[in-house]
């Protein structure tokens, strides 16, 4: 178990760096996770488009979206998504959007 500090509050991460409680997420958490987990100093408009869509999808369905939906909604080519999040859509983008780790081979 590790912790990150966001706005004076200590938030718990699980052993793989995912937020233990997805409800604690807000945009400032994403920025801190980006630096701590993905080594991203700044999040661009493209990063935010992906993160915001994943978060909205999760709020509605409790699931991570398909990468097809990410590309269709943001207009980003697939390969660009992988460039933006070096750890990929699950361990990169979904983690920054505060989702729990998805089931399956990830």
């Amino acid at each position: 178990m590790t912790y990150i500090e966001v706005g004076g509050k200590q938030l718990e991460l699980n052993d793989e760096g995912f937020l233990s409680d997805p409800q604690q997420w807000d945009k400032s958490v994403a920025a801190v996770l980006a630096k701590a987990e993905e080594g991203l100093e700044n999040l661009s408009e493209e990063h935010w488009a992906v993160i915001n869509f994943i978060r909205e999808h999760y709020e509605q369905t409790k699931l991570a979206p398909m990468v097809r939906s990410i590309c269709k909604t943001t207009g980003l080519p697939l390969r660009r998504v992988y460039e933006l999040f070096p750890s990929g859509p699950a361990k990169g983008a979904c983690k920054l959007a505060g989702l729990p780790k998805p089931d399956g081979c990830v």
Binding site: A64, R68, S87, D103, V106
Partner: protein, 445 residues
């Protein structure tokens, strides 16, 4: 008690196990032991040669990771149940009852320090199939709902939703339609298409759900190869998941439910051959274990996609230009596909024709080290730090090759290798065999 040592509900379940639960677990243990298992559970000579084989033991040096120690945890309970001396004088024989303390040690060592890779059996002077016996202990724990919850969650999702990532049917179909467009662009042919639910094709192709969910380039690559070979093939709209995490959790019942679905899809589609995508444990589960779980032979042919691609090359159905893949490539041998599955040379035959600079890592083939991601380890967050630590051996194997691309015919391995790449700063790309072949394809029609 500090925050870091507080028990979660799973650990509380273990410490509060009821006599009825323990009795049920023991009953499962006794029911599942076959004659050969009993002989092996009584055979370990404690020679210690298995120490050199286990990536967990080599990385940590901890006794709890030593294969003979792990085997002994299972043998101790066996002796207590089934041998006269073990019942009368357990202290003299090392026999131990299956109580909450023993369950806790089973979980820590048999789920938490083993990827069921089977490498320990290579050095065993008596040929004890240690990973089989460890899975037997997992089956015992599964019978009383003691699979670590993160691993159980993936099994549940597969059983409840039809695939291990819970992809809704429409999302799967939308993704295939999207890939249609990508394939048409890729091969400059508006008639190129990914077929769904076509009856009486030669092949029914199955995939790992993480491909449509997050990493569809490998799917696109395989579709491109089928296109180039002018293959008769299909996807299924309902059951298409090649994985079976019941193999890892030890739950034979769930394993049977999951494997019955691909068999039923085959019957529905009336294809000739069930083709298993690049998935190590999916190959082992569906090729070798499923007929056991289903208590009957399939009645149809089962092949790895690697066998199919190798045949295309041998028969001249596809043409490859290795100069399109110039970077140095090495190959990781997934334990369940290679050591436990028997698909050993096909991937080498293919890569030597698809890339211009192929190098082996050492050791390789059946002797290869596990990447650390198998056996359900990728799911079990509670043991993830050990998983990354145990992967150090694989990372050093890779680094020594000087390769820029690591090919892994297993999506589970691909994910673990990607994490090792980040953790140990290897600076490599991780790809599937199909991706390398698709890159080298020369399409003439």
């Amino acid at each position: 008690m500090s925050e870091d040592t507080k028990k979660d509900s799973y650990e509380e379940h273990i410490s509060g196990l009821t006599p009825a639960e323990l009795a049920k677990a023991l009953q499962t243990f006794c029911d599942k032991i076959e004659f050969g298992d009993a002989a092996q559970l009584n055979s370990c000579l404690h020679c210690g040669l298995c120490a050199d084989t286990c990536h967990y033991y080599l990385a940590s040096g901890e006794l709890e990771a030593l294969p003979a120690y792990k085997l002994n945890l299972v043998s101790a309970v066996f002796k207590n149940q089934h041998t006269r001396l073990g019942k009368i004088t357990p202290a003299l024989t090392g026999a131990k009852a299956l109580d909450a303390d023993m369950v806790s040690r089973w979980v820590d060592s048999l789920y938490g320090r083993c990827s069921l890779c089977g490498r320990c059996a290579l050095n065993c002077t008596l040929g004890i199939n240690i990973s089989r016996l460890i899975r037997l202990a997992r089956t015992t724990l599964a019978s009383v709902n003691l699979v670590p919850p993160e691993l159980q969650s993936t099994v549940n999702t597969a059983v409840d939703k039809g695939n291990n990532m819970g992809i809704p049917r429409q999302e799967w179909l939308d993704t295939l339609q999207w890939l249609d467009e990508e394939l048409q662009q890729e091969v400059s042919d508006s008639a190129a298409h990914l077929p769904i639910d076509q009856s009486d094709t030669r092949l029914f192709y199955t995939v790992n759900p993480r491909e449509p969910k997050f990493f569809p380039l490998s799917l696109l690559a395989t579709a491109k190869i089928f296109y180039a070979a002018e293959e008769s093939w299909t996807f299924s709209s309902d059951y298409y998941d090649v994985t079976n995490y019941g193999l890892f959790s030890g739950d034979d019942e769930a394993s049977g439910v999951i494997s019955a679905r691909l068999r039923d899809s085959m019957h529905k589609l009336r294809a000739n051959t069930l083709v298993l995508g690049e998935c190590g444990h999916g190959y082992n589960a569906n090729r070798w274990e499923a007929p056991e779980w289903l208590a009957g032979a399939y009645g149809f042919e089962v092949k790895s996609i690697l066998e199919i691609i190798a045949d295309y090359i041998r028969q001249g159905r596809i043409k490859l230009d290795p100069s399109r893949n110039q970077k140095r490539v090495t190959l990781h041998d997934p334990c369940n596909l290679v050591r436990l599955g028997g698909i050993i040379e096909e991937q080498r035959f293919i890569l030597k024709r698809a890339v211009s600079d192929f190098v082996e890592m050492y050791p390789n083939r059946a002797q290869n080290f596990c990447c650390g991601g198998g056996g359900g380890q990728l799911s079990m967050t509670r043991f993830s730090k050990r998983r990354i630590e145990a992967g150090k051996i694989k990372a050093e194997q890779i680094r020594a090759t000087g390769a820029k691309i690591v090919v892994a015919p297993c999506h589970n391995c691909v994910d673990q290798l990607s994490e090792l790449n980040k953790e140990y700063k290897l600076g490599v790309e991780i790809k599937t065999v199909s991706e390398m072949v698709a890159e080298a394809l020369v399409i003439e029609h």
